[in-house]
Amino acid sequence: MDIPNSKERRDFLQKMMQGVGYGALGIIAWSSYLSQSQARNLTLRPPGALFEKDFVRTCIRCGMCVEACPFDILKLATISDQISIGTPYFTPRTEACRLCPDIPCASSCPTQALDLTSLIKENKLSIKSARMGLATINTQTCLAYLGLQCTMCVRACPYPDEAIFLHNERNTRTDMHAFLKPVVNPDFCTGCGMCEHACPTTVASITILPLAISKGDIGSHYVVGWKEGDESRIEDDSTDVTLEKTKRNEKSVIDNLDDVEGILKGLYDE
């Protein structure tokens, strides 16, 4: 190989390496921003939104839902919000969802990131089936739980007595008053946030948490005996239990419990 050729080659290689360097820098910066913009389970989305992860990748960020909302409650996230950029969200303490019966937001979504079909019951639009989040009460600051008269959240709720109801309880502190405690029923709460918006405490004592973090799940390993059919769920399950013998369970249970010294020793040993 002659010399100029090898110099050319070296130049070319060097150029390429420079490119790789810039590229690596760019990709790292880009990726770190992307990991910031990924699904965040703390965001409240408009009615019918897919699960956060699917929502974030399906929403084309057109803002048509925001335009469609007649109450202007929806905002599109900007680069400074800690929410995937360009996606719609709402903040109930500022503006709560009014649960429009014609659901203009989800109807206008071109990508079905707001899935209208999830809001259809018996061939009719039913905003009542929206599940944007779940109202959650801080019983240490809620006026009603302190024994004061409030009920603001129950009055603000579009589905009082279903989504949120008042629970009467004797106030043993005064022995002459009653607590009128608001209790949320997750089966009906839409997460609209009217309650949070209405709460008179300085920081709302009832807040909407997205279902991704507030929805409990009992799992399949508990049986509730009073629920019809729940028991039959486990009828065919195998009853064989295999135990692995360790130092502490080689004796019978009774012997083990009698052996206080052994237990203490075992505790210290471990």
Partner: protein, 275 residues
């Protein structure tokens, strides 16, 4: 004065179109006008003709999103328009970032920052790599990766729905274009520009150069944001390639009217492809 208007007829019309579009979208959000709703990612004209950005949709596809028929229809409408008038017409007639980068380029010329020796030059092919990386990152992060950082989206959503801190990003692009590389963003990095170049390659409407009329004034070289595509100017009569953003600056500045917008026949296209 009239001469000034005539000399800048394309530039002024483009600015009017760009600002009118922003206004119409803004009105769509603010006052509920139904002429155009949405934004540059996806929109509706008169409430029923869908438009969707093909590149954004491709990223969504890579991110694993289910693409609806509404979006696909929108993509088809846009692809049709691009195949007629060329994908990059978007850059100079619609994209709001174009206003920023052209202003930076103009200021750069005014401030004489164009000294060849001190210049850093970036390859124009970076944008095609950025396309590839966008799709790769979209796949890895389950997110339309470029849409997350797109200054186009930031600018447009900013005007229509509010900026947040997004304007900082636009300032950065302005400074990059002003001091580091002329048309640095639009002509080198922007993957949407690259994508639109690719899909508008064989568009029917093109800017065409007539070398018989050319007096070698080289004015077009000073203003064209994609100078490399002028390689054959003065030597051959050719339609200008896919990277041409249809800004019409060459038509305006040429003293001998050697450029014009015209419909390119298949034969013309073949001659372009050959060279």
């Amino acid at each position: 004065m009239n001469n000034f208007l005539y000399k800048h007829r394309f530039l002024l019309s483009r600015r009017i179109v760009q600002i009118a579009l922003l206004t119409i979208y803004f009105g769509g959000n603010m006052y509920g006008w139904t002429l155009l709703q949405g934004n540059l990612s996806s929109a509706l004209i008169f409430g029923f003709i869908p438009l969707s950005d093909p590149f954004a949709t491709l990223q969504m596809f890579f991110a694993g999103a289910a693409i609806t028929t509404d979006i696909l229809l929108g993509v088809l409408v846009v692809l049709f328009v691009y195949s007629v008038i060329g994908g990059r017409f978007f850059c100079s007639w619609v994209c709001p970032v174009n206003i920023i980068t052209e202003t930076a380029a103009w200021l750069r010329r005014k401030l004489n920052l164009t000294d060849k020796k001190k210049r850093v030059t970036f390859s124009r092919n970076i944008r095609y790599w950025v396309i590839v990386i966008s799709l790769g990152l979209s796949f890895f992060f389950s997110l339309a990766a470029f849409e997350m950082i797109s200054p186009i989206g930031i600018a447009f959503r900013g005007v229509v729905f509010g900026f947040g801190m997004g304007w900082l990003f636009l300032v950065a692009i302005f400074l990059f274009d002003l001091f580091s590389q002329s048309y640095g963003w639009c002509g080198h990095i922007c993957p949407l520009g690259g994508f639109n170049t690719l899909i508008g390659r064989y568009s029917i409407v093109k800017v065409v150069h007539d070398s018989d009329k050319c007096v070698h004034a080289l004015e077009c070289f000073k203003v064209c944001p994609e100078v490399e595509i002028l390689a054959k100017v003065g030597r051959e009569s050719v339609p200008i390639g896919g990277a041409c953003i249809k800004c019409g600056r060459c038509i305006e500045v040429c003293p001998s009217d050697a450029f014009e917008v015209s419909i390119v026949s298949m034969a013309g296209m073949a001659s372009m492809a050959k060279g």
